[in-house]
């Protein structure tokens, strides 16, 4: 399994290369015991590295080029995903995808998520997962459909940010995001948010208001990317590691300050190391979450706004001099 290795994984890949070398020698000499020992060493090392990830290392994992994206999840979790296109105004924005699909044990749900591309051509088509206003407006159209037909909504967040382009500004990027925050806060169906990769700022939050907010173990979510934060506060691009530390942008950080509700564990080494395990974990979590939401009294029709105001009003810290 040759996943692209990140720099901090080098000690692991070095050892793995050595094992490979020993294997090829093994045809003439018996090294099976040494190989076994080395393999155990690799596992220990892997455990050690991934239990002590820095925040910046998690950001790198969240951006790993082989990490599963929205459509990978959706197509695995539902046998019948039907993608719906267009904002009915300007055009279809491929940086946000959405549609209905059936999850076993839950029934039909609406999936909406940011979509990155796997290669250069795909990334140009998907605009690197950076939506234009039409993406948010398409999402809103689909949210309303879900409300009309009483289907739960699952949003998968994975964007480096809303696109800061000329046409995006012209067509009201800010209004599109603001409108979604307003409308999502009162949508009368359960909404579950899962940050699966990068949760950059308003571009992520624009499809990120809901009843439960989850993060995959190695995703990040903040008001700004570490790079941009570095360039603004340190006036240099060189402080991204420090910025990542300062921003406290990992899942454990955000769980501890009450911004998210739950961390979804990833396979050792990151979601891309074992996508099937990742899909299975997320499916179980979603089934559990939606089942729980459906049986909670609070979730009866007409109370969506009340419970979301309650949820988001709690987020924040201040001192009162009085």
């Amino acid at each position: 399994m040759a996943a692209t290795a990140l720099e901090f994984e080098k000690p692991i890949t070095d050892l793995e290369a050595k094992i490979e070398e020993m294997r090829s020698l093994g045809e003439s000499v018996d090294l099976s015991e040494e190989i076994l020992m080395m393999e155990q060493k690799v596992e220990v090392l892997r455990q050690e590295i991934f239990e002590n990830l820095t925040r910046w290392q998690r950001v790198q994992l969240a951006r790993h080029p082989e990490r599963p994206y929205t459509l990978d999840y959706v197509n695995t979790l539902t046998p019948d995903f039907t993608e719906l296109h267009g904002d009915r105004g300007v055009h279809d924005d491929p940086a946000i995808v959405g549609g209905f699909g059936t999850i076993e044990g839950i029934g039909s749900v609406l999936f909406v998520g940011h979509q990155k591309g796997r290669d250069t051509k795909q990334n140009v088509y998907r605009n690197f997962g950076m939506p234009n206003p039409e993406g948010y407006r398409k999402a809103l159209r689909l949210f309303k459909l879900a409300e009309k037909f009483r289907r739960p909504v699952i949003c998968l967040l994975d964007t480096p940010g809303a696109f800061p382009g000329l046409e995006a500004e012209e067509r009201g990027q800010a209004e599109a995001i603001a409108r979604n925050l307003f409308e999502m806060s009162k949508l009368e169906v359960p909404i579950i948010i899962v940050v699966i990769g990068e949760g950059a700022s308003g571009g992520a939050l624009g499809i990120g208001v809901g009843d439960r907010v989850l993060m995959l173990e190695n995703s990040w979510y903040s008001v700004i990317s570490p790079e941009s934060c570095s360039s603004i506060l340190w006036r240099s691009w060189g402080f991204k590691e420090q910025a990542a530390e300062a921003l406290k942008l990992t899942a454990p950080d955000l769980l501890s300050i009450g911004v998210i509700d739950r961390i979804v564990p990833e396979p050792l080494g990151g979601a891309h190391r074992d996508p099937d395990q990742m899909f299975a974990t997320l499916r179980d979590v979603l089934v559990e979450e939606i089942t729980a939401l459906r049986t909670t009294e609070e979730f009866e029709h007409g109370k969506a706004l009340e419970r979301r105001v309650k949820k988001f009003s709690k987020m924040g810290y201040w001192k009162d001099e009085n």
Partner: protein, 285 residues
């Protein structure tokens, strides 16, 4: 909910408050038309250039004076100040940054919340001060905004917000981001109560503030030539690697593209707001 009486006269701080667009001294040069203006004359003109109508950047004090009847108001939640839940340190610690801002501006946060009246119509009014850490929105702004809406609903009064902000405050990271959701959800409550929300956009209103409450007015009113954007012009320029057309992201551009209802001169702001409120908020037939 605590109601706080104003503790001091607020009227005359404007002339001594230093900003980059309002230099100290008797005379001010208009940065647009280069006209040399006597400061008193500028003040009498509500800090707009008598020659070219350039709107100088002003703070909450000045707006309360300009908009509210007799400049009279009661301030609310005035004792809320930022906390530092993340222990945020960049080139200096966040608490130091806050302390510096408090000392420099004589304010406690980048937003103030008051109640008063506009042409006899009772209103809840919020105003942002760009001088305080770039008018950035953190937990306190979100909380004040939310309390403003609670007051508006409890007293059945319209809500008006004057925005001037660089966006969400980086030093509160994800918590700042969540204030966008918090304020927008509160606005949905205000809408359910059928109370008008007027958003007044002043120079500059950008980032997370534009992408939440500033764009959600039942009526959006912009001051002339105000920069109103999601991504700032420099970021857009870097993205498209082209020079931006003149007037891009200015108030008039937003009007043309359908994101502002009107562009209103500061001198006509009060009567315009009053007119809109009367049209939306008088008792139904």
């Amino acid at each position: 909910m605590a109601w706080f009486a104003r503790s001091k006269e607020n009227i005359d701080r404007s002339a001594i408050k230093a900003t980059d667009t309002m230099p100290d001294g008797m005379w001010v040069k208009c940065p647009d038309c280069k006209e040399i203006l006597y400061k008193k004359q500028l003040e009498d003109n509500l800090f707009t250039c008598p020659k070219c109508d350039k709107h100088f950047r002003i703070g909450s004090d000045e707006y309360f004076l300009i908009l509210l009847d007799d400049g009279v108001f009661v301030e609310h939640a005035a004792t809320l100040i930022p906390d530092d839940p993340l222990g945020f340190v960049d080139t200096k610690p966040y608490p130091t940054r806050v302390a510096d801002a408090i000392r420099k501006t004589d304010l406690k946060e980048s937003m103030r919340l008051v109640t008063g009246s506009i042409e006899q119509i009772p209103v809840v009014l919020g105003a942002m001060d760009f001088d305080f850490i770039g008018g950035s929105m953190g937990s306190v702004v979100g909380e004040k905004f939310a309390r403003g809406i609670d007051i508006a609903i409890a007293t059945q009064t319209p809500y008006i917000m004057i925005s001037s902000s660089g966006g969400a405050r980086m030093q509160e990271a994800a918590l700042s981001l969540m204030q966008m959701a918090k304020t927008s959800a509160k606005l949905a409550q205000l809408a359910n109560a059928r109370l008008p929300y007027i958003s007044i956009l002043t120079d500059p209103t950008t980032g997370g503030v534009t992408a939440s409450f500033a764009m959600l007015g039942d009526v959006n009113i912009a001051e002339p030539k105000a920069l109103i954007a999601f991504a700032g012009p420099r970021v857009v320029e870097q993205t498209i690697r082209k020079k931006l057309p003149p007037g891009f992201q200015r108030a008039e551009f937003l009007l043309e593209h359908g994101f502002a209802d009107m562009v209103v001169h500061r001198k006509e702001m009060k009567q315009t707001v009053a007119k809109v409120l009367r049209q939306l908020h008088t008792l139904p037939l």
